[in-house]
């Protein structure tokens, strides 16, 4: 029997299995390659601030960073790229570099640096998944880490100024989105009919930008105009992340504290599905989606 693979990552919301890009990349790749992952949504997490989430735990190892996790999964024969040619493999590397250089700074800015977005959406969301007093400290650290990354990679030393780079990073991100849209065209995935590593990365970077509701939305508005990219995200969500009892293992581990216990219930699947549909209808847009409620009710035996 294969050793169990456990993935610890940030949880979901707004219809996504995770709102964190790196976590989403790994989850999507696991779905595409058929790797059996047990997903643990972690709430109290010192590692988050040091950029260690997502983390894959096996019997012998602990692996962090999406690139290393994906490499490990490939070595375990869960390979979503086996049908790609050498040139397509090279293209994958190049497009991932494009995403990291051109799109990531603006995504980080939208989530973590733009004050309206950070204070009304990002900070409350992450703080609600951390115990006190971490909830006061960690979100700020993550925000600072994001700002640092933007300034150090795009700013001019020695006086790094955000204002100088803001316009440039959004211009680059929009250009990157246009390039991705041109490359995808009318195909279902980037390399034909089967999803591969590149699809996982693009999905991981685009889906949170597409789905999370922010006050300041310039990049999101641009993305929504590129209908093939939106269709790409929706297709993957519907085909691979449709929330059903048989599919995803989600076990919510709450931190030890005054009023918390880890909660597992098992209900009959038809009753559960009906309850889930009702919750999805009722959950307002700026609160996390029914995935939260689902984790309270179900676990697979």
């Amino acid at each position: 029997m294969a050793a169990p693979l456990e993935l610890s990552c940030w949880g979901g919301g707004w219809g996504l299995p995770s709102v964190h890009s790196d976590s989403l990349v790994v989850m999507a790749y696991a779905k595409f390659s058929g790797a059996p992952l047990k997903v643990n949504v972690i709430d109290n997490n010192w590692r988050g601030s040091r950029g260690d989430v997502p983390v894959l735990t096996t019997e012998d190892n602990t692996i962090s960073q999406p690139a290393k996790i994906l490499n490990f999964l490939r070595k375990q024969k869960y390979n979503a790229d086996y049908e790609l040619s050498a040139k397509q493999g090279a293209d994958t590397l190049a497009y991932i570099a494009l995403l990291e250089e051109k799109l990531l700074p603006a995504v980080l800015h939208t989530f973590w640096v733009e004050s309206d977005n950070y204070f009304t959406v990002t900070k409350p969301w992450f703080a609600s998944r951390m115990p006190f007093p971490l909830s006061l400290i960690l979100p700020g650290r993550m925000s600072k880490g994001a700002l640092n990354r933007i300034l150090l990679t795009r700013g001019e030393p020695p006086f790094y100024h955000l204002r100088e780079v803001e316009a440039q990073i959004y211009r680059d991100a929009k250009e990157c989105l246009n390039l991705l849209s041109n490359r995808l065209g009318t195909s279902q995935f980037f390399f034909g009919d089967m999803p591969s590593t590149l699809d996982a990365y693009v999905f991981g970077f685009l889906a949170p930008l597409y789905k999370v509701r922010f006050p300041k939305v310039q990049l999101q508005e641009h993305l929504k105009q590129l209908s093939n990219l939106c269709r790409f995200c929706d297709d993957i969500l519907n085909s691979y992340f449709r929330v059903s009892l048989g599919d995803l293992h989600v076990q919510k581990v709450k931190p030890r504290g005054p009023a918390t216990t880890s909660v597992k219930f098992t209900v009959a699947s038809s009753l559960y599905e009906r309850l889930l549909a009702l919750c999805q209808h009722l959950s307002p847009p700026h609160f996390p989606s029914a995935l939260q409620y689902r984790s309270l009710f179900a676990t697979r035996q």
Partner: protein
């Protein structure tokens, strides 16, 4: 378009290259390419949208991997820093400015490496990344003379600039240039451009 290609040979040094046109000064590859394009010369006009996307993606790959690896080797590898980089960087300045500026630059580069997740990488891991990047470039180039078949583009200029510098700059260890030399089509590519556009009778790229 030897203007763009020539300018790339010293790209590693930061704000260089720059071009001086009339009373305008334009520095770094991206703005230079835009400037030249505005004057009516562009290498990538013949490419379709998908090819342009590919070209931009490969240029980012080179920036992401090769440029970062070069910076790492120059500033984070103790042997190279001590023997070559410190002295070279501080050489235009009098004491104590030469030491202060060199240390400051080293500190800035280390900060940047940490921010992008290269802070904990060992030299071997960095060389492996370079190998992966060269492999991707080699596979993309294949047996063609240039990356987009018959005509050179901005990507060819960028790749030539980096590879030529790696192959011809003497460092404390030659592992970086050895990685590139493993790919014969990349070597042939560099020699071809050197001889065609820089008019050198014999190549200054040594094989060993």
């Amino acid at each position: 378009m030897s203007l763009v290609a020539e300018a790339l040979v010293s790209q590693i040094a930061g704000k260089v290259p720059f071009i001086h046109v009339g009373n305008q000064v334009v520095s770094e590859l991206g703005p230079i390419v835009q400037f030249v394009k505005a004057k009516g010369h562009s290498l990538s006009d013949g490419l379709d949208e998908v090819q342009k996307a590919e070209m931009k993606a490969y240029m980012e790959l080179v920036n992401n991997m090769l440029l970062t690896a070069e910076l790492y080797l120059q500033w984070c590898d103790d042997a190279t820093v001590g023997e070559i980089t410190h002295a070279r960087y501080g050489s235009p300045y009098p004491w104590p400015l030469n030491h202060i500026l060199a240390y400051q630059k080293q500190w800035e580069v280390k900060r940047k490496m940490k921010a992008i997740g290269w802070g904990n990488k060992t030299l071997d891991q960095v060389l492996e990344d370079v190998d992966q990047c060269c492999q991707a470039l080699s596979q993309r180039l294949g047996t063609q003379p240039y990356f987009f078949n018959k005509q050179p583009t901005e990507l060819d200029a960028l790749v030539f600039g980096h590879l030529y510098t790696i192959l011809t700059t003497q460092m404390t260890n030659d592992e970086l240039s050895e990685k590139v030399k493993n790919y014969s089509n990349l070597l042939a590519f560099c020699r071809r451009i050197e001889q065609h556009y820089f008019g050198k009778g014999s190549s200054s790229i040594r094989l060993s």
